[in-house]
């Protein structure tokens, strides 16, 4: 056991008196995948919001690479090496695919270092690498807004990868994808885990199965159980939590 890359310790977040996170804890090792599942409103997205600094917790702390990042601004957290893909594709529709990636791949994001024309070699190489990785090489100069839904998802994953973050937070990366597309996405994520750590939210158990990674189940803003997908499936308490979703879990 080394030191975790990311530790979420007893984090509580409340919106207007409702605790979206209620003493949530999670530890993530370098170069690993962790899948977060749980019924709607379990606090999965809020957890990602908290890690990235979009939501400030009222109690608890978040530690990344040994430094507390609990109350830092989003952009500073990102510069430390965490990047997030949103549920609804957060790409810039009016920029081309390559331009979207350029933006993510730039090493110097401080304002005063942005007064140069053109891209440096490193960034260019990174963009090419990511284009190949996510399979968008032939759509390089297309406007991002004109991609198909699956391609948009990949572009955003590509942006997160291009940012060279050590920790990637992926919120439903396979949502709305066809069966084949989602299989490709799972393969991509497993490939990424060789160099990055990934925290993945998804509902689709077939997809989760393909990731072949430990699963954390959240419920009512808390960690309910951690284990392999197999263990989770056979846990009666979890089936109870999902209520209507019992079927989905067991079928998958």
């Amino acid at each position: 056991m080394g030191t975790p890359l990311l530790s979420v310790e007893n984090v509580t977040v409340s919106f207007n008196g409702f605790n979206a996170l209620d003493g949530m804890s999670l530890h993530l090792m370098p170069t690993s995948i962790r899948v977060l599942i749980g019924p709607n409103g379990a606090g999965k997205s809020t957890l990602l919001d908290t890690i990235i600094g979009h939501v400030r917790p009222s109690a608890g702390r978040v530690v990344f690479k040994g430094h507390e990042i609990t109350r830092m601004d989003e952009y500073k957290i990102v510069r430390r090496g965490i990047c997030r893909k949103f549920q609804a594709p957060g790409i810039l529709d009016n920029l081309t695919v390559a331009e979207n990636l350029n933006l993510a791949a730039r090493r110097h994001r401080e304002c005063w270092r942005s007064f140069s024309v053109g891209l440096n070699k490193e960034v260019r190489a990174q963009v090419e690498r990511v284009l190949t990785l996510v399979g968008l090489n032939d759509r390089k100069h297309a406007l991002a807004g004109q991609l198909s839904h699956g391609q948009k998802q990949w572009l955003e994953i590509g942006m997160v990868v291009a940012s060279d973050a050590e920790l990637l937070l992926l919120d439903e990366p396979a949502a709305g994808m066809s069966h084949d597309e989602s299989a490709q996405t799972a393969a991509l994520i497993r490939e990424l885990a060789k160099q990055h750590s990934l925290l993945v939210i998804d509902h689709d158990m077939a997809f989760v199965d393909q990731l072949d990674a430990p699963v954390s189940v959240m419920h009512m803003g808390r960690m309910l159980r951690e284990g392999t997908l197999e263990e989770i499936r056979n846990d009666p308490q979890i089936a109870a939590v999902y209520l209507g979703r019992v079927k989905e879990v067991s079928v998958a």
């Binding site: 990235i52 810039l92 009016n94 920029l95 933006l103 406007l143």
Partner: protein
């Protein structure tokens, strides 16, 4: 191909402006000169609005700061040593305030013209954008600023000349200002500043800074989650726009020889925006043309039928925003689209439109 035609338009425009003293009457040349001074301001609005998506309804404030600083200098150089400007004496002041005195030196005045609006604009932008207040809120705040600025100028009669503002300048850097040769020289200087400002804007919008600015306009939070600090970019852009506004104001004062609160308030500030909207908010050539067109139009209409100008301006606002959001600069694109559409090639062309497709998006 497209790049070349745009460049050739720039060259034709520049040639036409450079040769203007040869074919324009003294009256029209002086009009053109003051409108070119305003075009410097329009370039700044274009960068902050067209690229940054920030709509300022208070550019008159920064323009006015530049104008008043230079006007103070001109007022002081026209005085005998130890004298006070007339309005100060009428208001019972017996000595020159220190913050007037410093602008007696031309270098300080020129530095003030550039630096004061920049700092004022940067400070306002930072205070607002850093708290993530933007969009419509920012526009409304800038409008309130324009109102407060003009009422402040009017009320501080003893220091600002009140409602009448500052006027009756005689010389600038030792040159008499009514001399026809001087009028011509000031035209050249204005054109030169405009060219420099235009080059600066072109450079800025082609740097990574310009790209990030467009990205912030289209998806501020996405850009923030890529590790950029949007407020910093927007503040720099706004301060740059304020700087161009200040320079423009100072040039304008030299052209018209007067500055008053009525020239910097809410209405003038919005007139500055309409000129940019007509030209095309994200076309640097377009906004220069738009500024000339709107201001010559205003001059023509308000001398022929004074009451019509306001109606015309109102109609222009509605028309441009609803029918032609990219202004004059959008017309070639529209024509092209129409031609392509009639040829049935619309689909093919859609794939490689320019990166900066400039319709507002929130």
């Amino acid at each position: 191909m497209k790049k070349w035609s745009a460049l050739s338009l720039d060259i034709v425009l520049l040639a036409a402006l450079a040769l203007a003293p040869l074919y324009l009457s003294a009256y029209h040349l002086s009009l053109l000169g003051r409108f070119l001074a305003l075009a410097v301001l329009s370039l700044g609005i274009s960068v902050i609005w067209g690229w940054g998506g920030i709509l300022s309804l208070g550019q008159g404030v920064f323009w006015g700061l530049g104008a008043y600083v230079l006007a103070m200098h001109l007022k002081l150089t026209g005085l005998a040593p130890g004298d006070l400007p007339d309005f100060m004496m009428w208001s019972g002041l017996d000595h020159l305030p220190a913050w007037w005195k410093i602008f007696e030196h031309p270098a300080v005045a020129i530095a003030g013209v550039v630096v004061i609006p920049t700092i004022a604009g940067g400070l306002l932008a930072w205070l607002v954008f850093n708290r993530r207040v933007s969009g419509v809120y920012f526009s409304l705040l800038t409008q309130a600023l324009a109102l407060a600025f003009s009422t402040l100028l009017i009320s501080q009669q003893a220091y600002t000349g009140g409602f009448n503002g500052l006027t009756d300048f005689s010389t600038i850097l030792g040159h008499p200002m009514i001399d026809p040769g001087f009028q011509r020289n000031i035209y050249w200087i204005t054109l030169g500043v405009l060219v420099l400002a235009s080059i600066a804007c072109r450079w800025l919008t082609h740097t990574a800074f310009g790209r990030v600015l467009v990205a912030i306009r289209d998806g501020e939070s996405r850009v923030r989650f890529l590790g950029y600090h949007p407020a910093a970019y927007k503040t720099i852009a706004f301060a740059f726009g304020a700087m161009l506004a200040g320079i423009s104001g100072a040039l304008y004062v030299v052209h018209v020889g007067v500055i008053s609160p009525a020239m910097v308030g809410v209405i003038p500030s919005i007139e500055m925006v309409i000129a940019v909207a007509v030209g095309g908010r994200s076309s640097l050539t377009g906004v220069v043309l738009g500024t000339l067109l709107v201001n010559f139009g205003k001059d023509w209409i308000s001398s022929a039928m004074p009451e019509m100008w306001q109606l015309a301006m109102g109609a222009l606002f509605i028309l441009v925003v609803t029918a032609l959001p990219q202004g004059l600069a959008g017309i070639p694109g529209l024509v092209e689209k129409l031609v392509l559409w009639s040829k049935g090639k619309r689909e093919a062309k859609m794939a490689d439109q320019p990166a900066i497709a400039l319709v507002e998006k929130d």
